[in-house]
Subunit: 374 residues, 2 copies
DNA sequence: CGCTTTTCTGAAAACGGTTACATCCTATCC
DNA sequence: GGATAGGATGTAACCGTTTTCAGAAAAGCG
């Protein structure tokens, strides 16, 4: 307390005056209510002249209490400024109405959108969300999951099906339901909701093949610990294989999730003597990198190089040339993940494997291959 | 509800078969360990042949317990697969080692980056983060704050100083410390960390003025409930005023945070008979919109139109022409907010108003005004 | 070797809710 | 009118930790 006051860094004269006042204020008010507001529910009960049980009932199950009592209690709650203590509630009821989510990183538009959608849905049904990140590290993911379970989450939303074995065991041991989002794997014994990345990637590659391209490069995201990236690569390769197109190993590059890395990969690809006439990319950000680098190097897209993305971020339709890509309804996917868990927790029937449709959006970045490829 | 079930898309026979098996499995394992793992700490205590108090001490304050006991307990914890129950811990210790954060939206690169940084820092010091969103709505922010306080957070990170009055009172009443991030207001009695948006905006506008522009437009973010946006506008206007430059009211437009809106605003601005030779923007996304629309309309940037952004997002240096903008160290800012609260909670000395430096990054989108403005 | 510190450990009372169970009413029905 | 069902409320035992306090053991000391 005291040292705090001293320590405040004070800038300007106005500031020199105000902070102490604030300090005082806070401390005073804190103490003031500390006395009255402690023992939360009992204070309310006393004020309303009822038992704590009634207050609890009035809050959690208003129907179960007479209208007059309900009103009296509501007024007492207001008067005391009562805020229920969630941890106590969780402890005694063994339910938290909270879900946990672990994403590789929040710093990726797709995940940010998904999380936003999930959170919005959850709050609409009275749930909260505990969000953590793993940085594509399975051990960290496990640790975060432990953390969340320890926190008492009722269920867990995970990205993909690429997890530490101990994670699944731990969740089973603690009877915490979970769902893998962003992938679709009907043959696995775990709930999931998402698009079939392999099929969608296949569609993307098929598109450029249909246009007549035979020299096709792949720039994918890092496949390590990323089943979504792997599935997409698998889809690309299957499409090529089915069309009897060979993929020189130097035409397949993997890059991290930044524009700079993508540009570097594109620079490499475009510098090859023997270069592809089309590039399919593991995600839109990578595609942007390819587009930018192609422009910088003086190659015309799509005349000399066709580019396909995957995700359909905002920029894709604004860019010039706009990007042909796979549209994935991220918001819907994540919301459905929430729905699954909420319904599951409510004891309702749920469907374990839910496929979300993708679609190929053809824009300006793809075209027939030029007559005379270098 | 029902229509949801109907709408579910089931593909393949595997899906039809597996779910029941899984259901069984989970339930079984759940019950199995439910018996052995319950009563967490007592199970550990019994197994190690010690009291619950010792186990608790071994976990929270390892030094306070003899080495042999510590080892025995560690082994028991491992054997039982014990995961501490955070709510119980919070209830009993009255500390959660958890901070709450309320941002307008997660779906904005700046906030996403900031949150990521804050979360990373917090987890490095053993704290967790509870993240919620307000959608720029003060009432929702208040409600979310209640929620977080109810959850037992030790402190709160808020965006800016534009809050519901009841919010400050509620936090004071409950003695929950907080900090306003993303702004710098040394004359206000509340802790804050961030850049001086007014000064930075002033710098941005001064830049185009120095280049010789006299016909300057402003495209800002919505100022309502957004002190950061307002401060920037104020800075722009002050710079103009100081240079005796008049700002026709039709040259100041406000837009929401999407590329489409920004483009629309730019379209409007460029369609005016009397149009500016430079546009200063409330953030980079808006600037992107102006850039894109200028290109579409055939105006050359920067020859015919100079554009200045604010934030320095990734795209700004990749775009062609690359964007002159104000660089703001978001990650650092949010991390410092976390540091402030953590140190404050630890009773350490803290600095109440912390200014984070901005810088003007001059790139290709600004230049001298052309000789013959229309 | 007895006495005082100090260190380590255990027993039990919180912490702030929920909820099973008991109790007390008040209609309802024969 | 008395028995009874059923709804509204109260009592008190938990939920799984932490933490105070006190006792036991070990260590230091003259």
């Amino acid at each position: 307390m005291d040292n705090l006051t001293k320590s405040r860094h004070i800038v300007g004269t106005a500031a020199t005056l105000k902070p102490p006042a604030y300090q005082c204020n806070v401390t005073f008010m804190g103490l003031l209510t500390a006395r009255s507001a402690k023992q939360g529910i009992r204070a309310v009960a006393k004020r309303a002249g009822v038992s704590t049980a009634s207050v609890s009932r009035a809050i959690n199950n208003p129907e179960s209490v007479s209208a007059s009592l309900r009103a009296r209690i509501a007024q007492a709650i207001e008067a005391v400024g009562y805020i229920p203590h969630a941890p106590a509630r969780i402890l005694s009821s063994r339910r938290s109405r909270t879900l946990g989510a672990i994403v590789p990183t929040i710093d990726n538009t797709m995940f940010a959108r998904g999380i936003a959608s999930l959170q919005k849905y959850l709050s609409s049904v009275g749930y909260m969300l505990f969000l953590t990140t793993s940085g594509y590290d399975l051990d960290i993911e496990l640790q975060q999951a432990r953390n969340l379970v320890s926190r008492g989450v009722d269920g867990l939303v995970l990205r993909g099906d690429c997890h530490h074995d101990a994670l699944r065991k731990m969740l089973a041991d603690n009877a915490v339901p979970f769902i893998n989002v962003g992938i679709y794997q009907p043959d696995r014994p775990y709930p999931c909701v998402g698009t079939d990345n392999e099929a969608a990637a296949h569609r993307a590659a098929a598109h450029v093949i249909e246009l007549g391209h035979r020299r096709i490069g792949i720039v994918s995201a890092l496949q390590r610990n990323n089943d979504r990236a792997s599935a997409r690569v698998a889809g690309f390769r299957r499409a090529l294989a089915e069309a009897d197109i060979e993929l020189p190993s130097k035409w397949h590059v993997e890059v991290p999730y930044t524009l700079d890395d993508a540009r570097e990969a594109a620079r490499y690809l475009l510098s090859l003597g023997e270069r592809p006439t089309a590039v399919v990319c593991g995600n839109d950000v990578i595609a942007y990198g390819v587009l930018l680098e192609a422009e910088r190097s003086g190659y015309s897209v799509p005349r000399e190089l066709s580019v396909v993305g995957f995700d359909d971020l905002d920029w894709s339709r604004h860019l010039r040339p706009s990007l042909t890509t796979i549209h994935v309804p991220t918001a819907e996917t994540w919301q459905r993940a929430g729905e699954y868990l909420v319904r599951h927790l409510a004891g309702e029937q749920t469907i374990m494997h839910h496929e979300v449709d993708y679609s190929l959006v053809v824009r300006e970045s793809t075209a027939l291959p030029s007559r005379s490829p270098k």
